[in-house]
């Protein structure tokens, strides 16, 4: 009889499979996928100085900073970034400290962008060949990451932070303080 029970194991495994699948069919998964980087430490990356007088952004400094940061990936050639700029300025007034990573940009274009749209960035690093962008797993510009004092990503915003997103970003920011 003990032998018989062994032979039922495949049947039990299959029953488990059916149960899990039935549950999944009854409750289809949501299509919103949270980025896998949330909850993860910042992947190592470095950027180059691009704006005179502003330090570049590196994962090492963000990790050692002991205070949270909003890391914003943007570019002077990116139209949604222009739309995002006033919201970032507003967030800055609310006390959000923002670092920028300029993707595939030139110093001259960037200075013009900052003159036209305001400059709320504490630090700006240039990412000439998109290596930082790839390290962060960002698919385009703009994208933003909230990083806590220990360098762990706590929130990932894909696309421009628009006025309707302001409250959520602020709420996430206050959680980190």
């Amino acid at each position: 009889m003990t032998l018989r029970l062994w032979f039922a194991i495949p049947l039990l495994v299959f029953a488990l499979f059916v149960a899990a699948v039935l549950w999944r069919l009854a409750d289809p998964p949501s299509t919103i996928v949270e980025t896998r980087l949330v909850g993860q430490p910042l992947p190592p990356f470095a950027t180059a100085p691009i704006v005179p007088g502003k330090a570049p952004v590196t994962s090492a400094e963000l990790t050692a900073a002991r205070q949270p940061r909003l890391v914003n990936l943007f570019a002077s050639w990116c139209v949604p970034c222009i739309a995002e700029a006033p919201v970032l300025a507003d967030l800055r007034r609310q006390g959000v400290r923002i670092d920028g990573i300029a993707i595939r940009d030139t110093s001259a274009d960037l200075l013009k962008f900052l003159r036209d749209n305001g400059d709320g960035y504490d630090r700006i690093g240039g990412d000439a060949n998109g290596q930082a962008q790839i390290a962060l797993g960002a698919s385009g510009v703009p994208e933003s990451f909230l990083v806590d004092g220990g360098g762990v990503i706590r929130y990932h915003h894909v696309g421009a932070i628009m006025p309707q997103d302001r409250e959520q970003v602020l709420a996430e920011w206050r959680k980190l303080r």
Partner: protein, 638 residues
């Protein structure tokens, strides 16, 4: 008219399946099989072939009054893709599935003469039950011949990723393999019903399993190469759920193929072989279910529909659940097989089976783990290549090491100093391991992979040494060739992970980039147009020493439906492949380029093909032997 004829053929075939099922379990014992079940099975095969030919005709003619054609085809499509489009969609692929199932059933009914009549009868009944369920699924939930009124002026096209010569052969090959395993499944169920498990059953199973396994091997190898060049990601295996869905039946079939030999030669491993026969086809059905239901999201989810998923799940519960329940209930009463010593061919084959089963379990758990975790904790996770590589890599190497010794052992017990015969491959493996140190830093797994591959290259020839080669059975040659193929594939995979160089860059026309030993100058881009797409074609001049080649990767935009794909430009050299992908243009006018130099990567698919070729040799050899024996027996009788 063609569509209606195809549909009628399917209904008729379904009715015949019902008849065959009835005869198998309630009809006259002797006359029922020969007079009704066998002709019914053959007629089903012919009718479904007719229906499948009808669907292909509709696609080739682009008959837009048929819903399936209108949804998936386009009159501008090149002929080959109109043809292959017939199975590049849900309904068509299910019709292909059913056709293969019915043809396999017909072949089983026509060719199997060695088994006792009762087992044949029960087996044909099981095959009819399988066919009936899938006919039902096709006719009720996925009618490929449904009409559309009024007919649209133009079709909607086919997913551009699927507009590739690979599509013409990859799914049918895999399906032939998947569904070919149904024969072993039905034989196992038949044998469980009559409690008649023995060498005769193994011999009856072997050709079907061997043939299905060869096709699965080819299908997976082709699929891997298709993903490699079509997706433009530079990888050859992504542990994607759908890839895993094709790998799992292959692993089970590989284990089955080896355990069948124990059952055929020695009458051992009865319960285990029966279980593998059930599991192999069950994995095929689970694979189809995973692909068709959208339960797991994947790059391959071309056809996703939860309602159909529920239907297939119902079929799965009946067939897999039924067969496994029958197994649990009956197998304890099957007579035990012959005993054997641990150091014997059987012992080695048991080790092979255990390792393959552990890999199968690993892949199964890894593929379904996200569903379980989400069901229990609500947390979304994904299981990626690191898990699969870390677990299956060492197991594959252990399997390969086992191949050093296994094929040299005698049946039942081996008291000869076998290890002495493996000194040569072991020395080669150690020498290769030392040599890899000179090649620079690489992962331990790659290092061991290269070493084991070198050793196995030698070891795979050993079973042929000391034999009279002219009298060596073709099946033995096939085994040696397949095992050599394993060595080649392992070497390719190890080279790919150890030596691949990758460059990701953005360049202006006239600028250069380098990858590995190659310097690649970006000459510029040109617009080009195909039958139903337009593209930007990059011109890259790659130079290495005196070698100078033009690469023209494309970024294609398809018009119907609007989609973008990357056509990698790949060139194979004796020592590797150069793989180039043209990405998007950036705001500043530079073009993204992805370049890979992949030394000896082609060995992966060469190895896969050699494994399949070995299987083919074995299949031909066994068939030839069987035929000669029958001829001799007839002569002796006369």
């Amino acid at each position: 008219m063609i569509a209606e004829a195809g549909l009628a053929a399917l209904w008729l075939a379904a009715a015949l399946a019902l008849l065959q099922l009835g005869v198998a379990f309630a009809g006259p014992r002797i006359g029922g099989v020969r007079a009704i079940a066998v002709p019914a099975a053959v007629a089903q095969g012919l009718l479904t072939l007719f229906a499948f030919a009808a669907l292909i005709t509709l696609f080739v003619r682009t008959d837009l009054s048929v819903q399936l054609v209108a949804a998936n085809s386009h009159s501008l499509k090149p002929f080959i893709y109109r043809f292959a489009g017939a199975w590049g969609n849900h309904e068509g692929s299910m019709l292909l599935w059913v056709t293969v199932l019915a043809v396999a059933g017909a072949a089983l009914a026509l060719l199997e003469r060695r088994l006792p009549l009762d087992t044949i009868r029960a087996t044909l009944g099981a095959q009819a039950a399988l066919a009936l369920g899938f006919f039902g699924f096709l006719l009720i939930a996925s009618n490929p011949f449904a009409r559309l009124n009024p007919a649209p002026p133009e079709g909607q096209g086919l997913n551009p990723l699927l507009q590739d010569p690979g599509l013409a052969f990859h799914p049918p090959t895999l399906y032939l393999g998947y569904v070919g395993l149904s024969v072993a499944f039905s034989l196992a169920v038949g044998a469980l019903i009559t409690r008649d498990v023995g060498p005769a059953l193994a011999r009856a199973m072997r050709p079907g399993v061997l043939g299905a396994w060869v096709l699965l091997t080819l299908g997976i190898t082709a699929g891997s190469y298709w993903a490699y060049y079509e997706l433009g990601w530079g990888g050859w295996w992504f542990w994607d759920p759908v890839e895993n869905a094709s790998l799992m039946p292959w692993l089970a079939a590989t284990a089955l193929l080896h355990s069948i030999n124990v059952l055929a030669a020695r009458g051992g491993l009865r319960a285990w072989t029966i279980m593998l026969a059930v599991v192999a086809f069950s994995m095929s059905m689970v694979g189809t279910f995973l692909v068709r239901s959208g339960i797991l999201t994947s790059v391959h989810s071309f056809a996703v529909d939860p309602r159909r998923g529920t239907f297939i799940l119902g079929l799965l519960v009946v067939y897999v659940g039924g067969a496994l329940a029958l197994f649990a209930w009956r197998i304890g009463t099957v007579r035990e097989g012959a005993c054997f010593n641990l150091v014997s061919r059987e012992g080695a084959l048991v080790a092979n089976n255990l390792l393959l089963s552990v890999i199968l379990g690993t892949v199964f758990v890894g593929t379904l783990y996200p569903i379980f975790v989400e069901a229990l904790t609500g947390e979304k996770i994904s299981v990626g290549p690191p898990y699969f590589n870390a677990v299956s890599g060492p197991l594959v190497l252990l399997l390969a090491v086992l191949l050093f010794v296994g094929p040299l052992l005698n049946w039942r017990i081996d008291r000869r100093p076998v290890l002495r015969r493996t000194i040569a491959p072991a020395l080669v493996a150690v020498a290769a391991l030392v040599a890899t140190v000179a090649l620079g830093p690489m992962s331990l797994l790659s290092r061991l992979g290269l070493s084991v591959a070198a050793g196995l290259t030698v070891a795979s020839i050993l079973p042929l040494i000391g034999r009279n080669l002219r009298r060596t059975p073709l099946a033995t040659w096939g085994m040696a060739l397949s095992h050599f193929g394993v060595a080649v594939a392992v070497a390719g995979a190890a080279c790919d992970s150890a030596f691949t160089r990758e460059t990701l860059t953005a360049v202006r026309p006239g600028e250069s980039a380098s990858v590995g030993p190659w310097t690649i100058r970006f000459a510029g881009v040109d617009p080009v147009a195909g039958p139903n797409w337009t593209a930007v074609q990059g011109h890259l001049v790659a130079t290495r020493g005196a070698t100078r080649n033009l690469f023209e990767p494309e970024s294609r935009a398809f018009s119907d439906p609007q989609t973008q794909t990357n056509e990698a430009a790949i060139r194979t050299y004796l020592d590797g492949q150069l793989y180039t992908v043209l990405g998007r243009q950036e705001s500043d006018g530079r073009w993204q380029l992805r370049l890979w130099w992949k030394p000896f990567v082609t060995l992966i698919w060469l190895g896969g093909s050699l494994i399949a070729l070995g299987g083919t040799l074995a299949l031909i050899g066994r068939w030839w032997r069987g035929w000669r024996q029958r001829v001799r027996a007839r002569e002796a009788w006369a």
